[in-house]
């Protein structure tokens, strides 16, 4: 039971990170019906900006941990948002109105470009970082097995919950959120009530990118090493999470992320680490066979 609880904590942590990335996929899909395959790279950029900021702050002598974390988060989100905005502006906006395949190919191209860009600038070797935040709390101790929740895991889970609540409020209650939902439901009509569609889409990319940056910062702290290729698998997993939860649905993306995280954690601990990816992708296949729209997705039926 103790072992189970520990894996549950590990799974939730991992799942939170996937969920944060998955929201970016699902929001962009919802609003322009396109899978932004470069989104995993945005997350990777977030991790690199985080590691650079950590080092710079270290050099500047800033050592107060909460302040360091806050600054890293803010800077990483800000820079990554700029990348997200630029990506939309350069690679997708010129293709608006083109056949659906065109922006998809463009996205794959941007993904390859960004990977190589970071590889050339930062080198191909993994980048380690000193643990910034250590320690944790022991929840229960039975039969010599201690269930621990590290402070970092706590931060990741709490931050994810806070961001999820904030995002749901933003989408549900604010002018921007309503404009986004209007664009998602009928883009031409949204323009006809005065929504600036281009700006709304750009802001969607900015929002998705800054959430991916949070995931990037967290992963840098959690794993302690990153490289230019981490965006590929994480992006694929988060995309899986978004599809599993029902692409286009925000709660679905979070739920899918958590499920993938939990499946991975439990599979690795009870069966085999090598096949954890096979397990999560198999679950995706099964869910899609029986629920083609994902867990919380909605069939595309339009009443005219």
């Amino acid at each position: 039971m103790a072992y189970f609880t520990q894996q549950l904590i590990n799974g939730l942590t991992l799942g939170s990170i996937y969920g944060l990335i998955a929201i970016g996929y699902t929001m962009v899909y919802g609003i322009i019906g396109m899978i932004n395959f470069a989104h995993g790279e945005i997350y990777m950029l977030g991790a690199f900006i985080a590691i650079i900021t950590f080092l710079l702050l270290g050099l500047a002598g800033v050592t107060f941990v909460p302040l360091v974390l806050l600054l890293v988060l803010i800077l990483s989100m800000a820079f990554t948002a700029v990348y997200g905005w630029t990506l939309e502006r350069m690679a997708y906006r010129p293709l608006r109105g083109a056949p659906r395949l065109a922006p998809l190919i463009s996205a794959i191209g941007m993904s390859i470009f960004l990977q190589n860009y970071v590889q050339i600038l930062q080198g191909a070797r993994v980048k380690p970082i000193q643990p910034v935040l250590t320690g944790g709390m022991v929840l229960t101790q039975t039969e010599g097995f201690a269930v621990t929740l590290s402070y970092l895991q706590l931060i990741i889970i709490v931050l994810t919950v806070v961001l999820m609540v904030a995002f749901s409020l933003l989408i549900g209650k604010t002018k921007l959120g309503r404009a986004q939902r209007a664009c998602e439901q009928d883009r031409a009509m949204a323009a006809l009530v005065g929504v600036n569609v281009d700006k709304t889409i750009a802001l969607t990319f900015v929002m998705g990118a800054s959430l991916a940056a949070v995931a990037g910062v967290m992963v840098t702290l959690y794993w302690g090493v990153i490289d230019f290729f981490i965006g590929f698998l994480a992006g694929l997993k988060a995309f899986t999470a978004a599809v599993l939860g029902g692409i286009g649905s925000l709660p679905g993306a979070m739920l899918g992320g958590l499920l993938i995280g939990l499946i991975e954690a439990f599979w690795s601990s009870y069966f085999s680490v090598e096949y954890k990816d096979v397990a999560s992708f198999s679950i995706l296949v099964l869910v899609l066979i029986f629920m083609p729209y994902g867990l919380l997705g909605r069939p595309e039926i339009e009443k005219v």
Partner: protein, 239 residues
């Protein structure tokens, strides 16, 4: 208030508007009638900048709005209840109205909602229902209500009577008249229901294959035998 001068619009190679000239004065109800495919809806959408006019100019309130992005034109005081109603299906009636109010001050919202519910009491009963679950007539009322929420100077209505029962059509035209007379909104009404539209309107234009072929007061056009033959007796006209 609205001046359309020599506007040409293309869909790819197809010339949908072939040099259209239309004037709408402040406070008027002007109607545009014509058969399917004449270019009526294209004209309304061209006024809103989507698609953009390939040539010719469109002036609103004496300012050139040709080529402006759609949202910019809307913020200047144009509103449209477009063809097919285009209600946001997964938003409630209230949320749809809130979308309509996007370009005005938030402070007006409660008053404006009350006045829309006053025009269409049925919407009040349905206020928390999703747009996609409304009937056709209710959706049309919502589309007009949503357009009114922006406090427009000029309201563009695209075939509001389409697919509605005759009884509802009659009520709807009474409401359009009320909007024009009580609220002072200028109305440009595109219709196939020529009889009702011409009776309601101060002036009318007749369009065929992308061109205006006739213009006059509502009463004159109603009395015109060609109009009668083509649009009021189920007859067909070549052009």
């Amino acid at each position: 208030m609205l001046s359309i001068q020599g506007v040409h619009t293309f869909y790819g190679q197809i010339e949908a508007l072939k040099g259209v000239d239309i004037e709408v004065q402040e406070g008027e109800i002007v109607t545009l009638i014509g058969a399917n495919g004449a270019g009526k809806s294209t004209l309304l959408m061209t006024v809103c900048g989507n698609p953009r006019a390939a040539s010719g100019r469109i002036y609103f309130d004496d300012q050139d709005i040709t080529g402006l992005p759609t949202h910019d034109i809307i913020h200047r005081g144009v509103a449209q209840a477009p063809e097919g109603r285009r209600i946001f299906p997964r938003m409630t009636v209230i949320e749809n109205l809130r979308m309509g109010a996007l370009s005005t001050e938030d402070a007006y919202f409660d008053d404006d909602v009350a006045s829309v519910f006053n025009l269409f009491p049925l919407l009040h009963e349905r206020r928390n229902q999703r747009g996609g679950t409304l009937s056709g007539g209710e959706q049309q009322m919502l589309a007009i209500g949503r357009a009114l929420m922006s406090r427009p100077k000029l309201l563009l209505l695209d075939e509001p009577s389409l697919g509605l029962a005759p009884m509802i059509v009659k009520q709807l035209f009474a409401v359009i008249k009320e909007i024009n007379e009580q609220q002072g909104v200028t109305i440009f009404l595109v219709e196939q229901n020529a009889y009702h539209a011409l009776r309601l309107a101060h002036r009318g234009y007749v369009m065929a294959t992308g061109e205006v072929i006739m213009a006059g007061t509502g009463a004159d056009l109603l009395a015109n035998p060609r109009i009668h033959a083509a649009y009021l007796e189920g007859g067909h006209q070549g052009a």
